[in-house]
């Protein structure tokens, strides 16, 4: 009867374990939200009372708002850059086997080199060229971080749709950019959009490089970092809750977009 025992326990144990993993991954995030409306000045569980005071604090403090704007600008610019450049590269990488063999592993570089080294190198380069604290410089570095992600997502979508339609358009006389704009882009738009959204978050959440090179031009993660290291006010909980909600919304929206596109295609 040993066999059925294993089978039985496997049928229940595994899903229970899976739920445990989900709780481990998600619970610490979900707990942040109730903490952000607690009335106590320090972190205390369970939260007591209900107040939006910490959110008010966030929106009323110029330091927080400036940092948020700076991060929004940097993240938008680097997401646009990474998406355009990465999509162009994906057009080649999804078709040209030789280009993939050469460029594929190289483009993965930013993902396997510890970010601290890139941060250090960025500081050295920035200080050599007088870019310390500049937004333009960090936009480039953040775009490089997002680049592998954009190329893999978009070339995956390109490989899935194939290039028959684009070829047909070319045979019918469309110039390459027209074939791309009117034929290829509409079919891969969901992938491009979700790559762009995630490129945005890669930059928006990035702390280590910013910490090294931005100096007094604080970004939002730098501001959170400073607060967490020093006095850990509940404002951090409020900001963290806003970030969690924004991220969850973006993930589910881009999933919806991709799924709707898949349904239309299928």
């Amino acid at each position: 009867m040993k066999r059925t025992l294993w089978e039985q326990s496997g049928r229940y144990l595994l899903p229970v374990y899976f739920v445990g993993v989900l709780l481990y991954l998600l619970l610490p995030l979900l707990l942040v939200v109730p903490m952000s409306v607690s009335e106590t000045r320090y972190l205390k569980f369970p939260p007591t009372g209900f107040t939006l005071h910490w959110y008010e604090d966030f929106f009323a403090t110029p330091g927080w708002i400036d940092a948020t704007w700076r991060s929004l600008v940097i993240a938008t610019a680097s997401a646009l850059l990474a998406t355009v450049v990465g999509t162009a590269a994906a057009l080649v990488l999804s078709r040209d086997g030789r280009a993939v063999r050469i460029a594929g592993p190289i483009f993965l570089g930013p993902q396997v080199v510890p970010v601290i080294i890139l941060a250090l190198g960025t500081l050295l380069v920035f200080s050599r060229f007088g870019l310390y604290g500049s937004m333009g410089g960090i936009v480039l570095v953040h775009a490089v971080l997002a680049l592998p992600f954009v190329t893999t997502t978009v070339s995956g979508a390109l490989r899935q749709t194939g290039d028959t339609l684009a070829r047909a358009a070319r045979v019918l006389g469309a110039r390459p950019h027209e074939a791309f704009w009117y034929v290829t882009l509409p079919t891969i738009r969901p992938a491009v959009i979700s790559a762009g959204v995630f490129a945005f978050f890669i930059s928006f959440d990035e702390l280590v490089i910013a910490l090294f090179v931005m100096g007094r031009n604080e970004t939002l993660p730098m501001r959170i970092w400073a607060d967490m290291r020093h006095d850990l006010t509940p404002v951090v909980a409020a900001v963290a809750s806003l970030l969690i909600l924004a991220t969850f919304a973006a993930v589910f929206l881009s999933d919806r977009i991709q799924r709707r596109a898949a349904r239309r295609a299928g």
């Binding site: 903490m35 970010v115 910490l211 999933d255």
Partner: protein, 298 residues
């Protein structure tokens, strides 16, 4: 759209001669340029600084980084911690990936989404979540005190255990994703065949599924290991002074002591040590699979 469509000037033949609509290598140029400016240049600059002394080239920084002393200890500590965290990730992630891979497709999409969502939340925010859970008046302490198990709160933050828990949580989705995608390529009828040939489910798993999915687990280990090596935020926020990783030391060298040469040498040592370890594991795995004859089962 009549303006966009015109007959090709050079006829059908010329179009057919082109291999693909967008095969021009020029499309790679912007990516290559960005990569050169914002990745190769910085990493090269680190290599340069690590070798630069007051008078020309020097190995002095490397001697300081690798010689007997605090840096070598921290380097070994970092490698050890990263290896341990990566190992914990594949151990904890393997059953979850297995569960995902054997799910019906509809439910699988949702579960995968739930696993991957935390990946997009800032590491800062995720670490903050652990401060809420493990803090002096956090979830665990208040539950233990409420249940009457302890009287005074446990000191859980600022310890090696807290670093482990928080780092595994950050990296677990990556490990699960890598192992899950390798498991989906396994041909399930092999398992069925083993059952028909009389193997128990457990034995079938051990002798068929496990060897076939081992490659994915090794890949997951390598990726999470390399990512863990560079961790900076989590050890600084939930670890004690003894949990300083090499990344934290580099940060100190750069921002406090202003010893950029030493910081660069430490960075290069971290990079090379990481690659050596990944290379060694990959080689070892190839040897083992060739010896036991599992590698070519598929």
């Amino acid at each position: 759209m009549s303006d966009g469509v015109s007959m090709p000037r050079d006829g059908i033949g010329a179009v057919r001669r082109r291999r693909a609509p967008f095969s021009s290598l020029w499309l790679l140029a912007p990516a290559a340029l960005l990569f050169l400016l914002a990745f190769l240049l910085p990493v090269g600059e680190v290599a340069l600084w690590s070798l630069q002394g007051d008078a020309g080239l020097t190995a002095e920084h490397y001697r300081e980084a690798l010689g007997e002393g605090p840096y070598r200890t921290i380097l070994f500590g970092t490698l050890q911690l990263a290896a341990g965290v990566a190992f914990a990730c594949i151990l904890a992630g393997y059953p979850a990936a297995y569960c995902l891979a054997s799910c019906p497709p509809r439910r699988r999409t949702l579960l995968l989404l739930l696993i991957l969502t935390p990946l997009w939340v800032s590491v800062l925010v995720r670490t903050f979540g652990w401060i809420v859970v493990l803090g002096r008046e956090g979830l665990v302490n208040s539950m233990l005190i409420g249940a009457g198990i302890i009287d005074t709160p446990l000191q859980m933050l600022y310890s090696r255990g807290a670093v482990y828990i928080a780092m595994v949580q950050v990296l677990l989705p990556v490990a699960i994703l890598v192992m899950f995608s390798s498991m989906t390529t396994i041909n399930r009828s092999l398992l069925l065949a083993s059952r028909i040939l009389g193997a128990t489910p457990w034995r079938g798993f051990l002798h068929v599924f496990l060897p076939l999915s081992a490659g994915g687990a090794v890949n997951a280990w390598m990726l999470t290991f390399v990512l863990a090596l560079g961790f900076f935020i989590t050890p600084a926020l939930v670890g004690g002074p003894k949990e300083n990783m090499i990344a934290n030391i580099i940060a100190t060298q750069i921002t406090v002591t202003l010893d950029w040469g030493l910081g660069s040498a430490l960075g290069m040592v971290l990079l090379v040590a990481g690659f050596l370890m990944v290379g060694a594991v990959a080689l070892l795995f190839r040897r083992v699979t060739r010896l036991s004859g599992h590698g070519g089962t598929r």
